[in-house]
C-alpha cells in the first residue's frame, strides 16, 4: 500500500503548516503604493498649466473677435479691459476664466486690478488702471482690496 503523501494532506487544507503561516504577520502594501497604483487607473490629475494656457488663448481670440466684429468695435482699443488678455492664471483672479471678457463690470475690472497688485504685478496693474480710467472717467476709483 502506498504511504500517505504529506503533500496530499497539506493540499487538503487546514494543515498545521498553513495555520502557522496564517498566524504570521501579514504585511500589506504601504498606502502610498496603493495611491500610486490606483492613480494609474484613474489617470493623472489635470495638468493645469496647459489648461491655463488654452484658456488664455481662447480668451484672447474671443476678445479680438469682440473688438473687431462686436457692437463696440468703434470703441478705442484701450477702453477694453486688457486684463483678461494679460493672463488666465488662476492665482490672479477667478474672473479670468470668464468666457465673455468684454462683459466685465467696472467693479470686476477693479477687483482684477487689485488681484494683480496682490500678485505683485504692479506694472500691469498700473497699465490696467490707466485703461480703466480712460474707459470709465467718472467712476469713483478706489481699488478694492
Amino acid at each position: 500500500m502506498r504511504p500517505p503523501d504529506e503533500l496530499d494532506g497539506y493540499l487538503r487544507g487546514d494543515s498545521a503548516l498553513s495555520r502557522q503561516y496564517r498566524r504570521e504577520s501579514s504585511p500589506e502594501p504601504p498606502h502610498e503604493l496603493d495611491r500610486r497604483v490606483l492613480r494609474l487607473v484613474r489617470g493623472p490629475a489635470p495638468n493645469l498649466p496647459p489648461l491655463a494656457f488654452a484658456a488664455s488663448v481662447l480668451l484672447s481670440v474671443a476678445l479680438v473677435l469682440a473688438i473687431v466684429f462686436g457692437p463696440q468695435s468703434s470703441k478705442r482699443a484701450d477702453e477694453a479691459p486688457h486684463l483678461v488678455r494679460a493672463s488666465a492664471r488662476a492665482d490672479v483672479s477667478p474672473l479670468l476664466y470668464s468666457s465673455d471678457p468684454v462683459r466685465l463690470t467696472p467693479r470686476q475690472w477693479l477687483a482684477d486690478i487689485a488681484a494683480l497688485r496682490r500678485a505683485g504685478r504692479n506694472g500691469e496693474a498700473d497699465a490696467e488702471m490707466r485703461r480703466f480710467r480712460a474707459a470709465y472717467p467718472d467712476y469713483p476709483v478706489g481699488e478694492p482690496k
Binding site: D5, E6, L7, A16, Y21, L33, D34, V37, L40, V41
Partner: protein, 204 residues
Amino acid sequence: MESLDEDARLMLRYRDGDADAFAALYARHKGPLYRYLLRQVRNAGAAADLFQDVWSRLIATRGRYVARAKFATYLFHIAHNCMVDFFRRDLRLHQTARIEDADAPASEPEVPEHQRPDRVAELLEQQSALLAALSRLPQEQREAFLLHEESGLTVEEIARVTQVGLETAKSRLRYAVRKLKQSMLAAEIEDSPPLRARQLKAVN
C-alpha cells in the same frame, strides 16, 4: 459566464472601462500579491517596484484579457514574469559588477544593505522560525508555497503560473512543505527544553 469566478467578472468589467471594478480587484489581491513579492525578493523597495510593475502590466494589457481561468492565475502569471525579469536583471548586475571589479584592487565587496550577511542574519533572527525557514528555501520551492498559501492556487495552477510541468510543480511544493514542517518541528523542540532533554535522552 456562470462558471466565472467573481474576480474574473470584475476584470471583465474593468476591461470594458469600469474603474471601480479595478478598485475592487485591487483591494482583494493587493495583500497576497505584496506578500508573494516581498517574501520572494526580501526587500521592501524592490517589492514595491515589482508590485507597481505587475499592476501596470495588468492595466496595459487589460484589453487582451480573456477569462479562461481563475483571475488569480492571470495576476500571478504576470507577477511571476515580473519577478523572473527582476532576478535576471539582478544576476546581470552582479555579473557586470564582478567583471568590472576583476582588475580592481581587492576590497570589501559592496552589497546592498539588506544582503549583507550580518544584516540577513539579524533579519532572520527577527522573523519567526517559519518565515526564516521560508526565506532559506530555494526560490522555486518558496514560490510554489507562496502561490498556494497566498492565493490558494492548486498544483495545476501553480504549474501554469510558473510555466513548468505538473510533476515539477508538485515536487517543488512537496519539498517546500517537508522542509518547512521540519523547521517547525525543530523550533518546537528548541522552545521546549524538557522535550529536547527527553529526545536527547532517548537518543543516548
